[in-house]
């Protein structure tokens, strides 16, 4: 069945360093979504990518969708303590399948 793998599972960075999480699907996706879950909170939608090779930016966050529509990445430039949380990708083949998430901690 469809699987969505996300790495790394954990990432600890110093404030100001960059951060990247990667998402890979076993099948071609129609679209991919990214969510952020703050500690103790619930997942909150960040963005959706639909087109092959698409790149979208939200301030310090850059989202990419691979040419083959099977992988995606989220890059945060110059992390801040407010970026702390778990970032999930969610790929849609038939249904939406969430990756395992990458937990980001930022040391001030």
């Amino acid at each position: 069945g469809q699987q969505v793998m996300q790495i790394p599972q954990y990432q600890h960075v110093q404030e100001g360093e960059d951060f990247t999480t990667y998402c890979n699907s076993s099948t071609t996706l129609s679209n991919i979504q990214w969510y952020k879950q703050r500690p103790g909170g619930h997942p909150v939608f960040l963005i959706q990518l639909v087109k092959s090779g698409e790149v979208k930016k939200q301030k310090r966050l850059t989202f990419q969708f691979g040419e083959a529509k099977k992988n995606s990445s989220l890059h945060i430039t110059a992390t801040q303590t407010t970026d702390v949380g778990t970032y999930f990708c969610a790929g849609r083949g038939g249904k939406l399948i969430f990756g395992q998430g990458t937990e980001l901690s930022v040391k001030p």
Binding site: Q33, Q37, P43, V44, F45, Q48, K95, L96, F98, Q100
Partner: protein, 119 residues
């Protein structure tokens, strides 16, 4: 103005008991979901309803039974609770493809979660 609400927020109960979690959304969405998030934060979909009809039913024990009395509500009843049922349960909603709106149609709005602890 809570978009997706769940009750209760915390639920502590003994093994073998039966419990229910309620979910309501006031976004006018017609698709609702239940997710289970385990201690490793893995989010797994359990059920999805569209216009009160069950459309996704993952490999979930029969002890779990969703009920959707109307489009705005999706409740989850769990019979004979087991230790392994301890987790955070999230309700979510989205609008269907073909419906209009400023955001992607399948953006999911999550409730605050219900932390279930089975002793």
């Amino acid at each position: 103005d809570t978009a997706v609400s769940q009750t209760p927020k915390y639920l502590v109960t003994q093994m073998g008991n039966d419990k229910s979690i309620k979910c309501e959304q006031n976004l006018g969405h017609d698709t609702m979901y239940w997710y289970k998030q385990d201690s490793k934060k893995f989010l797994k979909i359990m059920f999805s309803y569209n216009n009160k009809e069950l459309i996704i039913n993952e490999t979930v024990p029969n002890r779990f039974s969703p009920k959707s009395p109307d489009k705005a509500h999706l409740n989850l009843h769990i019979n004979s609770l087991e230790l392994g049922d301890s987790a955070v349960y999230f309700c979510a909603s989205s609008r269907s493809a073909g419906t209009s709106g400023p955001r992607p149609h399948n953006e999911q709005f999550f409730g605050p979660g219900t932390r279930l602890t089975v002793l």
